[in-house]
Every structure is written in C-alpha cells, then in structure tokens.
C-alpha cells in the first residue's frame, strides 16, 4: 500500500472503528488516539521522502497519469500534513481531558476523524473534483461537530455556516464543470499544462471558471469580504472543536489558494493584484473586529481572519521569499492559534463564561495556562524571538523590496492592533484580582482530566517554540517549498512524467 493514501485511509478506517466502538467509550478513546498517531507516523514518512524535493504521486488503480485519480505530495503538502497531524492530535488529547468530555455525544470521535480525513485529503489530492469531494467530507463532519453542544445561538451560527458553505461548494462544483468543459480534464497538473498551452490569454468562460474557483477558496479561507460567517460559527462550539477548526479549516482554503494561483496564473496575472487588495482588507477588517470584541474566543475568531490576510499577502506578492513567509506563517498560525483557542476553552470551562467583564485573575488559579497564553499571544503578535516573527519579517522584507509600501504599512498596523487585543485579553482574563463568588481553584486541581488539558496545550506551545528555535532550517524548507510550488513545470512533470511512485 502506498504511503500517500495512508493519511486519508487510516483516518477513515479509524473513524469507522470509532463508530463501531461507540458502546465502549474507553476503547473508542484509545482507537481515536491510535489513529491520530498512526496518521502522524504516515505524515512523517511522507515528509522524509519529499524533503529532498521529490514529488510523490499516486495514481489510483494504476491508470495512466492524467486519467487516474491522483494523490500528490510535495514539500508544501507534507508541511501542511505535519501541521494538521500535530494540531489535531493536540486538540484530541485536550478533548479527552475537557470537563465536559463525559457529556459530549459519542459521535465526537468518528466525526473528528472524518474531519481529519477530509483535511488531509484536501492537502493531498491532485484533481479539482476530488478537492470538492474532500471539502464536502471535511465540511459535513464539521457541521456535525459544531452542533455537538448546541444552544440557540450556536444553531443559528451553524445554519449560516452551512448555507454559505453549501453555496460556495455549489459554485465550486459548477466551475469545476466549466473547467472540464473547456480543458477536458480536472487533473490539476493537466489543467496547468493545458492552460500553459493557451499562452496566457484565456477565453472568457474559462477565465470566469478560474475566477470562481479562486473565489470559493477565498470564502473557505474566510478572506474579506466573505469572512463574517466565521465569528458566528466558531466561538461557541465545544472548545476542542472550535480550536481544531480555527487552527486548520481556514488554512485548507489558504493552502488551496497557494496551490492553485501558480497553476492558473504562472506569472501572477490579475489574481495577484486582486489578492493584494483582498489581503490588505482582510488583515485590517479582521483585526479591527477583534479589537471591538469583549469575550475570549470571539476576539480569537476575528484574529483568524486577520491572520488569513497575512497568508494571502504572501501569495499575493508572488515571489519565493514572500510565498515562503506565507507558508511559514500558515504553519506557525495553525499551532499558535489552536493553542490560544484551547487556553480560551480551558478558561471558559473554569469560569463558565468567556466574557471579559465576568472574568478576572485567571492567572492566579491557572498559572500554567496563563504562561501558555502569554507565549502564544506574544508569538501571534510577532514579537521577535517567537515563531510569529519570522514569517512576517519575510513578508515585510519582500513587500518593501517590491515597493508595496501601503500594504507593508497595513500589515504593521495590523500587528500593532493584534498586540493591543492580546493585551486586552490578558488584562480582561488573566490579570487582576480573583472574582468573589468563585470557588478558589482547589477543586480544580484534584480533577484527573486537568493534566490532559494541559498536555494538549503544551504540545502546541512546545511545537511553536520548536518552530521558533529551529526557524532557520524551517524557513529554508518553506523557501524550497515556495520555489517548488511557483515552478509549475516541476509539478506537471512530477505528476504526469515518470517522477511518480510506482
């Protein structure tokens, strides 16, 4: 069995097993954890094999390349798979230790693993129709996860999320159909090859199809102006669920933009220019929204939007350095944003609310969570020795190099506001006296799940510190990944040529 199919196949198998084990919650938990670790191992193997620039391709059923359904892995895909393995495992460990884990529906584990399969499938797939299918796999499980502990407001937020995503998926389906009608293929490498043969000017209907496909990815990434579904849907879901989604699902949309823009427009084209505006607006709108919020996970949800702006900024500048900065930022953000959400969930579980005016002094009862929050918050604000700094530095250097001064300024202002809203959370939640009327933390310390909660957060914080400590090699890797995705002919040869695995 080819290792490329494993991150998806194992996750589906684990989901089926976990569904069969619903009557035995204990075994189900172990099955879930074992699946996540196995997917992590498969990811490590893929990462090792692609690290030297090899393009792995798997053509299902041994059909010839271009006809077969393909899975493709290059450095970027392996990097994303690694980020998904770490964050999904951390959130699962955290979920096992969450005080509400006993009350949660036993459908949690199967749905969670199906979501993992969908996310990994999106990273690995080599054709646009399967991308649509894996989007749906990921989304339908995320719908289920969002309503696990639903109240009225959460149900309404979910309805908005479902309807918007269904419409976006429908548009994607139609545009993939248009693409097929014009190019006679949905295989990404073939699409790139045939677009290149057109020599830069596409017929209007084809251009429309490409435009719609990129637009749908922007919706999934929560880019401005279609970003307002996110703060409605994420903040009130169960903490581990909202953390996994906040950390990963928008990144899938961003990943698809990184993958498709060079395939569609090898020299940037109009997409590059349009994405520059989108990136600036997304950064600014997201962070201004965040500053205006006054509960923990709502601030974080708006931050997702502004951070997506940074990533899109990377692909919009369209040079190896900037794209590398964007890729670095995606991975950093998947780790750190998830950690912040998990800390937010722990604080809300402890105090029963996330509203700043009803919490204070959390640092007194939860000193370790406070420390984890501080590290993650400073990192996301881009304070130098931490992991958020390097991606932003590369973006800024390249923006100044290309003369995009306005956007460089916007991203700096966004960084300032990010710091401001993180200070707001710190001030509202962790600082200050402990509120009267809450039992002091003694009861909490004896609770067995506490260690698991801490372990989930610790995995992510340690991973983000490791990214900071080894930022040199990791950035070099991101740079190579960026050169690889920008060199479309390499992708085409890797999939269609003889570079594939047997």
């Amino acid at each position: 069995m080819n290792v490329l199919s494993l991150p998806v196949a194992l996750a589906f198998a684990g989901a089926a097993l976990a569904a069969a084990l619903i009557p035995f919650p204990r075994f189900q938990r172990w099955a879930g954890l074992a699946t996540l670790l196995a997917v992590g191992a498969a990811t490590a193997v893929i990462a090792c094999r692609t690290a030297d620039g090899t393009m792995l391709a798997l053509h299902f059923g041994n059909w010839p390349a271009g006809i077969a359904i393909a899975f493709v892995a290059d450095r970027l895909a392996a990097f994303m798979l690694a980020a998904s393995a770490v964050t999904m495992t951390a959130c699962y460990v955290y979920a096992l230790g969450h005080p509400a884990a006993k009350d949660i529906s036993p459908a949690f584990t199967p749905l969670y693993l199906v979501m993992l399969a969908g996310v990994n499938g999106c990273f690995l797939t080599g054709d646009f129709f399967n991308l649509f299918v894996f989007f749906e796999v990921m989304l339908i499980s995320s719908y289920g996860l969002l309503v696990l502990r639903a109240d009225k407001a959460q149900l309404r937020g979910t309805l908005a999320y479902v309807v918007l995503n269904l419409m976006a998926s429908t548009v994607l389906l139609v545009s993939v159909g248009l693409l097929y009608g014009h190019l006679g293929t949905v295989n990404m490498a073939f699409v790139a090859e045939r677009l290149a043969a057109l020599g830069g000017t596409y017929p209007p209907m084809l251009e429309a199809a490409l435009m719609f496909i990129l637009g749908v990815f922007a919706v999934k990434a929560a880019a401005f102006p279609l970003c307002f579904w996110l703060p409605e849907a994420y903040p009130r879901a169960w903490a581990p669920v909202s953390a996994a989604m906040g950390g990963l699902l928008t990144k899938v949309g961003v990943y698809c933009l990184f993958r498709s823009v060079p395939l569609f427009y090898p020299d940037g084209g109009w997409a590059q220019e349009a994405l520059l505006y989108v990136a600036g607006a997304t950064m600014l709108v997201g962070v201004l929204g965040a500053v205006a919020q006054d509960s923990f996970r709502r601030v974080l949800s708006f931050h997702i939007i502004s951070q997506v702006g940074y990533m899109i900024f990377g692909v919009a500048l369209f040079s190896p350095l900037a794209v590398a900065g964007g890729i670095f930022h995606i991975v950093h953000n998947a780790l750190v944003k998830t950690a912040l959400f998990l800390v937010g969930g722990a604080v809300e579980a402890r105090f029963g609310t996330g509203a700043f005016k009803r919490i204070s002094g959390a640092a007194r009862t939860m000193p370790l969570m406070g420390a984890a929050f501080l590290l993650a918050a400073l990192s996301i604000a881009g304070i130098p020795p931490l992991s958020g700094f390097y991606g932003k530095l590369a973006l800024l250097l390249d923006a100044f190099g290309q003369g995009a001064y306005v956007l460089a300024g916007v991203s700096l202002v966004t960084g300032l506001f990010t710091l401001m809203s993180m200070v707001k959370i710190w001030d509202g939640v962790f600082w200050g006296p402990f509120p009267k009327g809450h039992a002091h933390g003694k009861k909490e310390r004896g609770r067995p799940g506490g260690a698991m909660l801490g372990a989930g957060v610790a995995i992510l914080v340690v991973a983000s510190l490791a990214v900071a400590a080894f930022s040199g090699p990791i950035f070099a890797y991101a740079r190579e990944a960026a050169e690889q995705i920008l060199d479309v002919s390499q992708y085409v040869r890797g999939v269609l040529g003889d570079g594939g695995a047997p």
Binding site: V133, I140, A153, L155, L166, V174, G177, Y180, T353
Partner: protein, 114 residues
C-alpha cells in the same frame, strides 16, 4: 434550441433558490438550498452534453459518444447533496424546536451568556 431552453430553466431554478434562501423562513431556506444544488447538477449535465451523440456504450456503432465523466461527477454530487439535505433538514428542525422561525429570530451570539 434544447440548450437554450435548458439554460433558461436552470437560470429560473437558481434565481428561485436564491430568492427562497434570502427570504429567511427556515423551510424556505432549506428548499432554496435544495433547488440551487440540484440546478448545479443540471448545469453540469448540460455542460457535458454533446448534441446528437449516442449513449456511451461501446460497440453500438455510433460515430461519437456522450462523455460519461460529467455524469459520474453528477452522481457523486447528488450523493453529497443528499447528505447535506438531510443535515440541513435536521438543523432546521432543531432550530424550530428551539423556537426559531426565521434566520432573523435567533439572537446573534451573545457576549456574556454562560
């Protein structure tokens, strides 16, 4: 001629679908979503059509055959659409039970609810 008629029908279905979604009453939103997804399937069918070609069965001695791939894509999309329809119906029911009749009824996410 057939193509023009079919395009008009698809356009009508899509506009009805979006009208219903924007109406905001839950049953209408659900119906609208279903209409739009189904008209997308019709559109795919229309785009893959080769006028006056035979069904894709080899050995029937025709000069040209219909392309079977769009039909395979549509089958997949129909299955996915069914799953989504089931979920949206269930969600609408839960919202109704929670006393929500239109998308404007439910509170926006409150800041400090427990």
């Amino acid at each position: 001629m057939m193509d023009i008629f079919a395009s008009l029908v698809i356009g009508l279905l899509v506009s009805c679908g979006f009208y219903l979604i924007l109406d905001g009453r839950l049953q209408r939103v659900v119906l609208g979503v279903l209409l739009v997804t189904h008209s997308a399937n019709l559109l795919l069918m229309l785009m893959g059509r080769r006028p006056s070609c035979a069904p894709p069965i080899l050995g029937s001695g025709a000069d040209c055959y219909q392309d079977p791939l769009p039909q395979a894509l549509i089958l997949t999309a129909i299955v996915i659409g069914m799953g989504m329809a089931a979920f949206v119906l269930m969600l609408a029911r839960r919202l109704r039970e929670a006393g929500v009749e239109t998308t404007d009824d439910a509170p926006r996410v409150p800041e400090d609810a427990p």
